[in-house]
């Protein structure tokens, strides 16, 4: 059976882009600081082009990845620059900890959750409010994103995920086979989540941040003044290059996000239950060619699609028969009997792409234009 094309016609694309422009204007261009407007416009144009191509060609994953990787790459120059302006170094100075000013990122959410519920205590030295990295603002963003996107966060919104997502597609051939169906691969993410949650309970401090987070290398880390911190630093470097770059290149899988990140595991468990969008397989169309399992970067495709699916779109694009698509509450088309124009326009996949891309847009806007400006000024 030949796959029906999911490409949209120009009027359909324009309608969808028109919807996207609203948040783009309000959160992006409108929020640009003085002297940042040109960069805001450039970035906005770039995003519009990607979204246009995504809808026009019907290929989700390719353009999504370009966006996702550029977001990850644009995140850290601005972040590091801000840190250096604010405190003069990328190292975590003690005064930041003493004054509780460490940036709170989403990955800590599952770790801090139980003490937060039981004792109303946040076991992290962050700001409660009044800063873009404060605890409340991250929590609120998380709740809303989980309701609408579920684990889609991990392919569309997270400013870290682009590293291993990008690297997982550098090589054309798989050099290191990681079998999706191996029990340990299935269990590792949840075990990792359980481990960091329980381990953090004992010491009432986020052991993930202390020992296991690879992203500290591109954000902030403790200075290796004693044995403990030196070990942490070495571990961090090994994890960064190992799980975000080398292993993803060799195995064509997102080794960090698919196996080790506790936030990703939690989104898989909770998010996939709550969020209305899901990738579903039409068994009657499937010819068991195995393309989807072979290429899923997130270890999410085995016999069935697992709850850890990040809705990246890779398998949807690759499936030769069109058996896979994004469903909304189990429906591939909301109005199957409507005229073709509307039927296609209101496809769940379009709604999801709009929502997820908007999320990525808003979260990335301020640091992306900040970084663009820095980079332009550098040359």
């Amino acid at each position: 059976m030949k796959k029906t094309s999911s490409a949209l016609s120009i009027p359909q694309v324009l309608i969808l882009l028109a919807i996207y422009i609203l948040p783009l204007m309000f959160f992006g261009i409108n929020a640009a600081g003085s002297g940042e407007l040109p960069y805001a416009l450039i970035y906005g144009l770039y995003l519009l082009t990607l979204l246009f191509l995504m809808f026009k060609t019907g290929k989700i994953s390719k353009y999504r990845r370009i966006f996702f990787v550029s977001m990850a790459l644009l995140f850290f120059p601005a972040f590091i620059h801000d840190l250096i302006i604010e405190r003069g170094t990328m190292l975590i100075p003690q005064s930041t900890v003493v004054n509780n000013e460490n940036p709170f990122c989403h990955i800590v959410i599952p770790i801090t959750m139980i003490p937060m519920i039981l004792k109303k205590m946040v076991i992290f030295p962050g700001r409660l409010m009044g800063h873009y990295t404060s605890i409340y603002s991250m929590l609120v963003i998380w709740v809303f994103m989980t309701i609408s996107l579920g684990r889609g966060w991990c392919s569309w919104v997270c400013f870290y995920g682009g590293w291993d997502d990008g690297c997982s597609r550098i090589s054309q051939k798989t050099k290191l086979h990681m079998d999706n169906r191996a029990p340990w691969i299935r269990n590792l993410p949840k075990a990792m989540l359980l481990f960091v949650v329980l381990g953090s309970l004992i010491t009432l401090t986020s052991i993930y941040c202390e020992w296991l987070c690879p992203f500290k290398l591109i954000t902030e880390f403790e200075s290796p003044t004693n044995l403990r911190n030196t070990v942490a630093l070495i571990l961090m470097i090994v994890l960064f290059f190992g799980t975000l770059i080398i292993l993803p290149i060799l195995s064509r899988r997102r080794v960090n996000c698919g196996l080790l990140c506790p936030f990703g595991a939690m989104q898989g468990l909770i998010g996939s239950k709550i969020a209305p969008f899901k990738v579903k397989m039409d068994k009657s169309l499937c010819i068991s060619c195995g393309q989807c399992e072979k290429h899923c970067p997130s270890f999410s495709m085995g016999k069935n699609i697992r709850s850890s699916c990040t809705l990246c779109g890779e398998c949807i694009d690759l499936c030769p028969t069109g058996a896979l698509d994004i469903h909304l509450r189990g429906k591939k088309r909301i109005f199957p009997k409507a005229p073709a124009f509307f039927k296609e326009l209101l496809q769940p996949r379009n709604l999801f792409i709009l929502a997820a891309f908007t999320g990525g847009t808003i979260i990335s806007y301020s640091f992306a234009i900040h970084s663009l400006k820095l980079l332009v000024n550098l040359f």
């Binding site: 030295p125 409660l128 996107l149 709604l351 808003i362």
Partner: protein
């Protein structure tokens, strides 16, 4: 069909939820804070507070006569202690370079860029033995309470960001980092629980004395002169005047009495675990008197006069709450006069119109009001007028919902800014005090308890 519609709505809602989440996260933090009441684990902020002591504001003149050096570098209030906080000793504190420590913090009235000469000493008595004099030759020219010879002294030396620890023989035994919290105007130190200090872990009562002075390379405490000069403090009666500008005094002890005695003896304050002194501040806004009946009558009467200054007429209309008339009057006046104060009145009156308008219209009016204030301030008014404009804007900020406009903090800053301008101009003290109280109220709206408390402390001593 209905089910399909429901699904469509669900899809659309999911699309809206995404930008909503971001919008809410910025705007409604205080709301979520009220609902959830989360707190950062005290293990990260130095332990639970076991005692807090308050010292008077503006008593940084020793026995009452000391003066700062005249150079502008020595900003007013840099030596003024406001609050001393003692924390529960912590073991195995996470993310801390010093795993076991005892945190103490001192809140100052003013935290300027220039505090190079500041010196702050905390004397601690926690065991048998010790000393009753300062570590010679660095004399602050006082003795310490005979009952409580001190065992350890922490000297906060701001310019180097260092704290030096002295033992009772006057030797420097350790050097630890000094942490500063500029926003809350606090110095924070973490005494490592090593050696003798380990003993406090059994929860015993410890005794503390905190003093401040200016630093001098040779004798630690800068000598005092009779007259202040550019670099030297003044106000000394003779060579034996204690070189202490401020000290932690509670309850019946009066700093003036102690320091002006012939042979001053610095008292120690017992820190009993679990005893927290809180200033009561629930009804502070009620201290601000409204206009009396006579005053209102007097305003009415003056309004009848023909030779009134145009500005004054507007002001009277405004004060009497005749808003519609006032708005018309000032709008008219604006065409003839470019006095920036007119814009300030217009700003307030515009914002007041928003009260009974539908949401969108109200938001537009408030935004317009802030534009008017901005314009007024841009017109370079003389200091006194500038202060009045700030007060106008402060009141608007205080009254518009903070969750929508996020103006409570700028409002507080406006009131404090106005107070800063008006005070040297000889403005009536009770008026200045009101400004502090309004600023505190703004901080309360913004849920910034520490700053609210600090502002109230400052207001308390203005008489």
């Amino acid at each position: 069909m209905i089910k399909r519609l429901f699904i469509l709505i669900l899809g659309l809602v999911s699309m809206v939820t995404v930008p909503m989440g971001f919008y809410m996260s910025r705007r409604y933090e205080t709301f979520f804070h009220r609902a959830l009441g989360l707190q950062v684990d005290p293990n990260y902020s130095g332990g639970t507070v076991i005692a807090q002591y308050y010292d008077d504001f503006r008593d940084d003149a020793g026995a009452g006569s000391l003066e700062y050096p005249l150079h502008q570098y020595y900003e007013e209030g840099t030596l003024d202690l406001l609050k001393y906080t003692v924390y529960q000793p912590l073991l195995d504190a996470p993310w801390s370079e010093e795993p076991h420590f005892w945190q103490l913090s001192v809140t100052m009235a003013h935290f300027s860029e220039h505090r190079d000469d500041l010196i702050l000493r905390i004397y601690l008595d926690f065991m048998e033995g010790g000393s009753t004099s300062s570590p010679a030759p660095r004399q602050e020219l006082v003795r310490f309470d005979q009952q409580h010879p001190w065992d350890l002294m922490a000297e906060i030396y701001a310019p180097r960001g260092q704290v030096y620890l002295y033992d009772s023989t006057g030797k420097v035994v350790d050097k630890i980092p000094l942490y500063e919290n500029t926003e809350e105007q606090r110095y924070i130190i973490r005494l490592p629980l090593k050696g003798d200090l380990e003993q406090i872990l059994d929860g015993r009562i410890t005794y503390h004395a905190v003093i401040t002075g200016f630093y001098d390379e040779i004798s630690a405490f800068q000598p005092l002169r009779r007259e202040a000069s550019l670099r030297n403090s003044g106000g000394a009666a003779d060579g034996r005047t204690p070189r202490i500008f401020d000290m932690l005094c509670i309850e019946d002890n009066s700093q003036q009495d102690i320091l002006s005695a012939a042979n001053p003896e610095i008292p120690f304050i017992p820190v009993i675990p679990g005893q927290i002194a809180q200033p009561s501040n629930s009804t502070y806004l009620e201290e601000i008197p409204g206009p009396t009946q006579q005053e209102i009558q007097a305003w009415e009467n003056s309004l009848q006069k023909d030779d009134l200054d145009p500005m004054e007429r507007g002001d009277l209309l405004f004060k009497l709450g005749r808003n519609v008339e006032a708005l018309e009057y000032f709008t008219q006046l604006r065409k003839e006069d470019d006095n920036p104060l007119i814009l300030a009145y217009l700003g307030t009156l515009t914002a007041q119109q928003a009260a009974d308008k539908p949401v969108l219209e109200a938001v537009a009016l408030v935004n317009k009001s802030f534009e008017l204030f901005q314009e007024a301030l841009a017109g370079n008014p003389p200091p006194r007028d500038r202060a009045y404009i700030l007060i106008h804007r402060g009141h608007v900020s205080r009254h518009v919902p903070n969750s929508v406009f996020n103006k409570a903090v700028p409002g507080a800053q406006d009131f404090l800014g106005a107070a800063e301008i008006l005070e040297p101009l000889g403005q009536d003290k009770s008026f200045i005090k009101e400004l502090y109280l309004y600023a505190a109220h703004c901080y309360e709206i913004a849920e910034m308890e520490d700053l609210k408390e600090l502002t109230l402390l400052k207001a308390k001593v203005i008489k």
